[in-house]
Amino acid sequence: MSELTAVKLAQQQREVSVAEFFERNRHLLGFDNKRKALLTVVKEACDNSLDATEEARVLPEINVEIIDLGNDKFRIIVEDNGPGIVKKQIPNVFGKLLYGSKFHSMKMSRGQQGIGISASCLYAQLTTGRPLRVISKISPKHPAVYMEIGIDTKNNRAQVFKEEEKEWKKEHGTRIELDIEGSYQKGEQSVDVYLKETAIVNPHATILYTNPKAEQLIFPRATDLLPVQPKEIKPHPYGVEHGILMKMLQTTESRTLQSFLTNDFSRVGPGTAKEICQNARLLPNSKPSELTHPQIEQLMEGIKNTKIIAPPADCISPIGAELLEKGLKKEVNSEFYATSTRSPEVYRGIPFIIEAGIAYGGEQAGDQSIRLLRFANRVPLLYQQSSCATFKAITGMNWRQYGLSQSQGALPIGPVTVVVHLASVWPPFTSEAKEAIAHYPEIIKEMRLALQDCGRKLSSYINKKKRVGEAQQRISIFENYIPEVAGFLEALTGEKKEKTIEKMRQMLSKNKELIQQYKEAHEVTKREAEEKEDQIELKGAIEYDE
């Protein structure tokens, strides 16, 4: 009897395991609430599409559609022109948690753990009971494959409910359809904003989006240049985390710890591997799969205490200042743009590149805090702004010198959008939820330098604008004062007002030309002008009004 119960219990335990895993980790996976769930599903699907198209060297064309099914249920359709997925792999990609090509590789990419899209599939299954529908085609020569996929939560395995060949006029690509429980709201942290921001940092992508209100938004591409394909490198020991290390140890083909370290990591030769083993107090010929938890801890410690060369930087592909500006230009309507890309730097042994951009003026409100757009590996970060390294970098700067107002420790105020992009093989986040970039001093310093570079360009623009504005204003002062002066003169002398106005206006228009000429010929700083102000004749007076 008791034996039976135990067996039963064991079965139940296994049955709940995946679902339970999901329940426990839903906040880490981005399904904390209905609104965020909708965003997460769209985000995971788009990330996959963008990664896939880029890998296949195809200019991405992504069609996102969200249909309101009522009762807080939504249908999400994401279609791309990527390379497609071979039939055999389709169930695993969508129906098995922790399955993916990115998990073991050390390369800059949007997704990292291969958990997102299958988690979305599971979420759909749990909230609406409907399987994920996918149609994929790898080339015009092959027919498209249609499948309906669910997750066998008992065994963490894909369950294929339906499989058939289908006519699809696309040459290649993937289209998925999911029904989930969610909630749609516009504004900050919405799907609309997410896709708009995605368009900024992916200027090579065209995104068509139909939101639940049936409004269609088109984010056209601004360049035909695909991002440079980042080189794939093996993980660097400094960037590896406990869980990943464990996984790697279990799946490695190497027989000894030493060969595991040299084969599966970058920048580790036999000498370094031996040193790590020594520092970890482990035998170099231990079998990797047999390491215990405490031993893995020791290994982590050993890695930390060993000096290892930084990984090569060609595994990162920044957007580039020029393309970032193009991206900003098409999505933020402003009058001035400045962007900056820094050279690669290293945090904790992991290379990264910081890029920043500023869009100033235009339709943006001038009496509010600036808009901060944060990105990690071309993915917008919409949550936890104030705990992000970008926020710290910005608030720690003095923006007044760039012509914006700012109170201590706060975001500056002005008609400005600031973009900060962190590109790295392993972007550090403050938590597993991957919503805010961690506060590494090296990273914050680079962010500040990039922003300062943009800030300098901005302030020279603002100053120039101010000067032109002042000259304009001065002319209008005189224009408006002339009738007043003429009126008082008539009262004093009897000289007809109209006559005086006419004469004085002529004097002013002549001097307007002087301003124009002067502007081209000289550049006098404002302070110098003010010092002289008291001793000038007509010509001089107008001259340094510039």
Partner: protein, 359 residues
């Protein structure tokens, strides 16, 4: 009389029209009113305005508004002269205060701006505010055995009860019918004046007592000057033993920097300082009423010490040095600690009798 004023204002306008006709940046010559352009005339013992002047241009962003304000008050003054009416500074302010069309700029925002423009106009036109038919607040009271005629009324200063005659801002038209006094005693403080009036000090000592209830106005200064010049009455000043009290005396006697152009009609080179002096403090044991000097008091004292007209005055320098060593000041009213009528019955009669003045 009025014609001369009207002519001057018209001239101001005509000069500007001439500039415009010559295609020159329209300008007004404004004498400079800072210490740099004020000299102490050793002969007349008055502060006088120098000859430096600055051009105020219309086509200059820094000048345009003041240029406009100057013309605005000039046109108001011209209107007043034409109507033969007087207007108060505040009225002038309101009559030119309006927004310039197409802008959010007012010709004047504060009365201080129109007041300044009027002071400038006085300098530019060489006409006093009174001549421009602009008046200020009346302030101050006077009691004494004097009969005057003002605006057609006969007024006996000794028969006006507890208020006394209140001094108008312009005393030019006042005619003295009978003056029965040996000197004039001026004090800043209304409280002291009340004391002396109630004690009928003016009757007993055959004098005129004047108080300004605060800052000495032009009307009071002119009244004192007329009593001094036309009736040969000495002027005695009663003020606190403090840098500001000394300054009141200084302004009365020599004129002020800001109104240096008006010294001619206001300064009282013969005025004498009666008290409170450092010697009074010793003699009447007022040290227990010391008020500690503040930073700003020391600064002011230092400035006054260095005024040209005090620099070589040994007696005054002695007072300044004593004050510096006390690090304290004393109010007139501290005399009341010796009895409420001590000032009128003992202090003043004694001082005047012994002629213990500072010059």
């Amino acid at each position: 009389m009025t014609n001369k004023q009207l002519e001057k204002l018209k001239e101001l306008g005509n000069d500007i029209i001439k500039d415009i006709d010559k295609n020159k940046n329209p300008s007004i010559d404004v004498p400079i009113r800072t210490l740099a352009n004020v000299q102490f005339n050793q002969k007349t013992k008055k502060l006088e305005l120098g000859k430096k002047s600055a051009k105020r241009f219309f086509f200059n962003v820094g000048h345009a508004k003041k240029f406009l304000q100057t013309l605005a008050v000039a046109s108001v003054s011209k209107e007043l002269l034409g109507l033969d009416k007087n207007a108060h500074l505040r009225d002038v302010f309101y009559s030119i205060k309006r927004t310039i069309p197409n802008t959010d700029v007012n010709i004047v925002d504060e009365q201080s701006e129109s007041d300044k423009a009027i002071e400038d106009l006085e300098l530019i036109s060489d006409l006093s505010r009174e001549q421009l038919h602009i008046t200020a607040n009346k302030a101050g009271s006077v009691v004494g055995s004097v009969v005057i005629e003002d605006d057609g009324d006969i007024i006996d200063w000794s028969k006006l009860g507890s208020g006394g005659w209140s001094i108008p801002s312009t005393v030019e038209k006042v005619k003295f019918k009978k003056v029965n006094a040996k000197f004039v005693l001026y004090m800043e403080k209304a409280g002291t004046w009340e004391r002396l009036r109630e004690d009928r000090f003016w009757e007993k000592q055959k004098c005129i007592i004047v108080s300004s209830h605060g800052q000495t106005t032009r009307g009071i200064r002119r009244l004192l000057q007329r009593l001094n010049q036309e009736h040969n009455l000495p002027i005695y000043v009663l003020a606190d033993f403090d840098p500001w009290g000394f300054y009141i005396y200084s302004v009365l006697k020599f004129g002020s920097i800001n109104l240096a152009h008006a010294s001619e009609t206001m300064a009282l080179p013969k005025a004498k300082f009666l008290g409170i002096t450092a010697d009074d403090i010793e003699k009447y044991n007022l040290k227990k009423h010391f008020i500690k000097m503040k930073e700003i008091d020391f600064t002011r004292l230092k400035q006054i010490m260095n005024y040209e007209w005090f620099k070589n005055n040994k007696e005054w320098q002695r007072q300044f040095k004593l004050m510096n060593s006390y690090k304290a000041k004393v109010e007139i009213q501290s005399l009341s600690s010796r009895g409420i009528t001590f000032i009128s019955e003992k202090y003043l009669p004694e001082k005047i009798k012994e002629a213990k003045f500072l010059d």
